[in-house]
């Protein structure tokens, strides 16, 4: 009973604070109610009636006494949307429209970050989009700032602050020049959500190979293969060695192992040997006397 009276008091208070009221005959109610907050609906007349509150996202029914306010405690109507209140009394039916609006305080973020894996040094390569929701999973459509931060181990954090439009905000960030995991955080008020973006080396930037005799063969070995930012290209990346001799060509594909590729090929006097990986062509070695 004590709790009921508190709700009743709060209902009057909240209803009294509403800037505008909708009135339709016997119905007197706020035009706008914040999701989850207390409010009350007043009616005139006498006798018993039934009050329906119906919208696409919530529906309820209350037996009411005409002439007395009907209080709705906090948490009764919590889904944002457009509602119709219908009061069916003994002799007539009244109806009035009102809106339930989201709370202003964010409680959850839906954060879409892409990609999860990206090459280093890509301008605007990382994107993040956020939808901001209140505690009742209503999209908060009033503009509010969302801050995005991308921080990694080797570079200074990038920060952007964007205002939401109709509940959505987005940004773009550059990937760092050094490989490694980056933490991508979106924050609205005191609610945040984070994603990990793996930054991996880019394509090989240059390729250099050396050759030395190994019995009747030539031992070919690349220098450590790196991208244009100096990051080691991942092991497993294929380097193709090509030997041209006397009109014939032979090729060998070798995966990088510990950053280098190594292979033995037949030692023919006058052979021309080259190496390539991706779109990068390395130096050419001419073997022997010719």
């Amino acid at each position: 009973m004590k709790v009921g009276l508190q709700y009743l008091g709060l209902g009057f208070l909240v209803a009294a604070l509403q800037p505008a009221f909708a009135q339709s005959g016997n119905l007197h109610m706020p035009k706008t109610v914040q999701a989850g907050s207390a409010f009350s609906i007043e009616s005139t007349g006498s006798g018993k009636a039934v009050l329906y509150i119906v919208g696409p996202v919530q529906a309820l029914r209350r037996d009411v006494q005409l002439g007395e306010p009907t209080s709705f405690p906090p948490g009764t109507i919590y889904n944002a949307g457009h509602y119709l209140a219908i009061l069916t009394g003994p002799s007539s039916t009244e109806q009035s429209e009102f809106d339930v609006v989201p709370e202003n305080k964010p409680a959850a973020l839906s954060f879409l970050a892409r990609p999860s894996r990206i090459s280093v040094s890509l301008h605007n390569g990382i994107t993040g989009a956020v939808y901001v929701f209140d505690a009742y999973q209503n999209l908060i459509t009033a503009p509010m700032p969302v801050s995005f931060q991308l921080s990694g181990t080797a570079s200074a954090p990038q920060t952007r602050t964007v205002n939401t439009r109709d509940g959505a905000a987005w940004t773009q960030m550059d990937s760092a020049s050094k490989e490694g995991a980056a933490k991508f955080v979106a924050q609205a008020s005191d609610v945040s959500s984070s994603r990990i973006i793996q930054q991996v080396p880019g394509d090989p930037c240059g390729l250099r190979m050396t050759a030395r005799p190994a019995g009747e063969k030539i031992e070919l070995q690349t220098d450590p293969v790196r991208d244009c930012s100096g990051n080691a290209v991942p092991d497993g990346t294929i380097v193709t060695f090509t030997e041209n001799y006397n009109g014939t060509q032979s090729t060998v594909d070798v995966p990088l192992k510990r950053g280098i590729a190594k292979v033995e090929m037949p030692a023919h006097d006058g052979a021309r040997i080259s190496a390539a990986t991706g779109v990068v062509l390395g130096n050419e070695v001419r073997w022997g006397k010719q």
């Binding site: 696409p56 996202v57 119709l84 999973q137 999209l139 439009r165 959505a168």
Partner: protein, 165 residues
């Protein structure tokens, strides 16, 4: 000749019946925030699936059958509509939403292509029935904000929310 005439007449009947059941739809030029270009084909699919979602929403809340939402709704929007259907059934009412017109504008296509947001100035008739007895009818004009996400073969509505104009 007779057969050809019959086919034409049948076609006209079907199309006229279809047209009578349709709401007026206007799609505004997109005013996108975001770097991703919205292809015409995608825009058409989004609008088509959104309007179909309204149809299934109308029917589901009229018949209090939550399963009718499965094809077009997902996530929060579906949960809330299912909840409404349960509440309507419990208190013995059903609601008929007859959408009269839609004025749709796509406002956001998220950079990774996993969500589209649109706003819709929609006009509909809302009829509330206590069992089969009409309780109230109201012409509503409201601004709806909706978020759709792609599923296997179509866009599904994840957020459907009226906001005050």
């Amino acid at each position: 000749m007779t057969r050809a005439l019959f086919i034409i007449c049948s076609f006209l009947l079907v199309t006229s019946g279809f047209a009578a059941d349709q709401s007026a739809v206007r799609v505004e030029p997109t005013n996108l925030q975001g770097p991703r270009v919205l292809e015409k084909q995608t825009e058409t699919a989004v609008v088509r699936d959104y309007l179909e979602a309204w149809k299934s929403f109308d029917t589901a809340l009229d018949q209090n059958r939550a399963t009718l939402l499965d094809a077009d709704f997902v996530g929060t929007a579906k949960d809330k509509l299912v909840n409404t259907i349960q509440q309507q059934s419990k208190i013995g009412i059903h609601t008929r939403y007859v959408d009269r017109s839609h004025d749709i504008r796509i406002v956001f296509y998220s950079p990774e292509g996993l969500s589209v947001q649109l706003v819709d100035q929609v006009e509909y008739d809302m009829q509330v029935f206590d069992h089969d007895k009409p309780l109230a009818t109201q012409r509503v004009r409201a601004r709806y904000v909706s978020v759709l996400t792609p599923s296997e073969v179509r866009w599904r509505v994840r957020v459907l929310q009226a906001v005050p104009e």
